[in-house]
């Protein structure tokens, strides 16, 4: 199956039973698959009037106690930013799959890019932390979609899947495990009485148990800055307290959230960092470099946000160079530079979208960096 279809199957395996979306290339196949599959298993598919409504609807469905998701591409992702913010502020579990195409604006609707990396991180207004995963194959579309739901349910926030057109439209074999072999995480429910329940009072790990609509807790949920009761609190102190918790629940659990796949890292002198479809070009380049006797390595970012800065900081001092391979003008390379913090040179192999990166380009950069004196 293709990556978009794998995303749908992963969502269903994770327990998703509500999808609201709007057609957009190259993510349409996610919605089409959902519209066919959800009614078969008693779920709801609804095609909304736009992506703003789609995002709002999945938040509503999540508060109704149903795991929900939407999928889109750049133009729709821009429209979703408003209610992604509402989801972050109200701590609403849900999943947004962005199958990236080249922008800005309508750009290249049918062609690949990875230009929404910073938008996923900072696109909604205000300060927050986000979780975003980047699959590099249809199999990872399936696996990462399940993980996206698990992370969203556990940490209570919209989790973003940053796929791309090539992965979305690529057909590969996808192995769907037996139901009992799939790990499923469900949101923590309150155990106290209605009188004692504070909807935004967190447990020790920074996560607050979540009562759904109709559970009898008569919750109030608002996008205004709020206190533990969920009531609006219009002052700097309340803002400090709320945002600190929203940020800390991700920051303090980074080691549990961040996942990378590392190749030949132990003895590498030049490391390529990449994600999504570009990570496959990078992997080929690194293997080719090894074939030429160059000590190359790869860090594939399965989690792009939060960025694995501890890992980068740890390896950078013993490297000749690090190279970011991505399809944009240089977005995640900024994070790489920040994390490497001058401990080794950092460079970029990229294009602005429309085509995947040729492994030869990355290999050339690796070979050049390997020749430099340390």
């Amino acid at each position: 199956m293709n990556g978009d279809e794998a995303c749908c199957e992963g969502a269903l395996a994770a327990g998703c039973r509500f999808f609201a979306g709007y057609p957009i290339t190259p993510a349409t196949e996610v919605a089409e698959s959902m519209s066919r599959r959800l009614p078969e298993i008693g779920g709801i598919y609804i095609q909304m009037e736009d992506e703003i409504a789609s995002m709002a609807a999945i938040l509503g469905a999540s508060w109704g106690g149903v795991k929900s998701m939407t999928s889109t591409s750049g133009p729709g992702f821009s429209l979703m930013m408003e209610n992604i913010g509402l989801g972050l502020c109200t701590e609403t579990p849900c999943v947004v799959c962005n199958v990236q195409r080249a922008g800005p604006s309508t750009g290249l609707p049918t062609l690949v890019a990875q230009g929404d990396m910073m938008q996923a991180r900072w696109g909604s207004h205000g300060h927050y932390e986000i979780i975003a995963l980047s699959p590099s194959s249809p199999q990872e579309m399936f696996d990462f979609t399940i993980r996206a739901f698990n992370l969203s349910e556990y940490y209570r926030l919209p989790v973003i899947i940053l796929a791309d057109e090539t992965i979305g439209h690529m057909n590969e074999r996808v192995i769907i495990p037996q139901e009992e072999d799939i790990e499923i995480v469900n949101r923590r429910k309150p155990t106290v009485s209605r009188e004692d329940y504070l909807p935004y009072e967190a447990d020790a790990d920074g996560i607050a148990p979540m009562a759904n609509c109709g559970d009898g807790y008569r919750i109030h949920v608002t996008g205004l800055t709020h206190d533990d009761r969920g009531y609006p609190a219009m002052d700097a102190k309340a803002q400090e307290k709320m945002i600190t918790r929203l940020v800390d629940k991700i920051r303090k659990n980074r080691d549990k959230i961040i996942r990378t796949q590392n190749l030949y890292l132990d003895d590498a002198e030049v490391v390529v960092v990449s994600y999504g479809i570009s990570a496959r070009s990078a992997m080929q380049a690194v293997r080719d470099a090894r074939g030429e006797g160059i000590k190359a390595g790869l860090i594939k970012l399965d989690t792009v946000w939060p960025f694995p800065e501890e890992l980068i900081r740890g390896v950078a001092p013993r490297l000749k160079a690090m190279i970011m391979a991505e399809i944009n003008g240089g977005q995640m390379v900024l994070e790489l530079e920040r994390a490497a913090c001058g401990a080794c040179p950092v460079s970029l192999v990229s294009n602005f979208g429309g085509a995947i990166l040729h492994p030869g380009l990355i290999l050339n950069a690796v070979a050049k960096a390997a020749k430099e004196k340390p």
Partner: protein
């Protein structure tokens, strides 16, 4: 928007069970009509006899949107204009929940206009109560899609150059199965219409012409809050069952009020279940057992 110190030793209010009393005093200005509409909503909800745990309120942003923060139900104060799509998701995820949307004219018909059109077209089973005060109150009184032609606001100091929506006509055209309009002074009719709307199976819409003395009234020299309320009531003419396209809101001549649409057609869920041959959770028919608060 004003704030007041909490008044101590206030006798209990008949609606206390449905109020987050710890959040009172509310933020609405003295003389604002939203409190009257809120009371009518509460009374209508109480009148249904439904279990409060099966009712949810969803609102957008603005003065009216704050109702969701004062009602002791599952309540959701969402983003500007997005109450309806949020409510759509909530309703479809939990079809046995009765969903009430409360918001202002600007929220529902400017930024949220597209969502309103489509929620009505789909005949989503929910009730929308729109407080129409002819301007954006929360931000200090700007021109809205409901502002009468020539009326003064902070962004139309020489008079609004735009013709307003006829909200009831729009709702009816888009497919609402229940449409009514009252002024905030006509409390009994309003309460009874909201009750009917809640009991209605399908997309029901109640518009309330509501005084905003602090902003709209002040800029248009409409006098005190009470004078304004009486003015709207005096201008109102009851013409139920006429074509809503003829039910005009013209504050210089007449404000046509009444119940304009009360019909039946299948809801989104009815169609969804049918085309997909699903045995989905049934919509709660309003039988007597529900009125006992099952």
């Amino acid at each position: 928007m004003t704030t007041a110190k909490a008044v101590k030793n206030v006798p209990p209010h008949p609606m206390d069970a449905l109020l987050r009393t710890e959040r009172i005093p509310h933020i609405w200005c003295p003389g604002c009509g939203i409190g009257t509409v809120f009371s009518a909503v509460l009374a209508a909800i109480k009148n249904t006899g439904w279990d409060p745990n099966t009712i949810a309120m969803v609102s957008g942003i603005g003065c009216t949107g704050r109702m969701a923060g004062y009602i002791r139900l599952d309540s959701f104060h969402t983003t500007h204009g997005r109450a309806l799509p949020f409510a759509t998701g909530l309703k479809l995820a939990k079809p046995d929940t009765k969903v009430i949307i409360v918001s202002g004219d600007g929220d529902l018909f400017a930024i949220g206009g597209n969502h309103f059109i489509h929620a009505a077209r789909r005949n989503m089973d929910m009730t929308v109560v729109c407080v129409n005060n002819f301007n954006y109150g929360m931000t200090g009184g700007q021109q809205a899609p409901s502002t009468p032609l020539g009326a003064k606001t902070t962004t139309s100091v020489n008079g609004s150059p735009e013709e307003p929506f006829n909200l009831c006509d729009l709702a009816a055209t888009c497919g609402a199965t229940y449409v009514a309009r009252w002024t905030a002074m006509q409390v009994r009719s309003l309460r009874s219409s909201i009750s009917e709307a809640l009991e209605k199976r399908g997309f029901s819409f109640v518009e309330v012409i509501t005084p905003c003395p602090s902003s709209f009234g002040r800029r248009n020299r409409m006098g005190t809050a009470l004078e304004m309320m009486k003015f709207y009531q005096g201008r109102s003419v009851i013409r139920s069952d006429i074509n809503p396209s003829e039910a005009l809101v013209d504050i210089d001549r007449e404000i046509v009020v009444g119940k304009f649409v009360d019909t039946e057609r299948p809801t989104f869920m009815d169609h969804y279940a049918k085309v997909n041959r699903l045995n989905l959770p049934q919509w709660r028919a309003m039988h007597s057992d529900h009125q006992k608060g099952r």
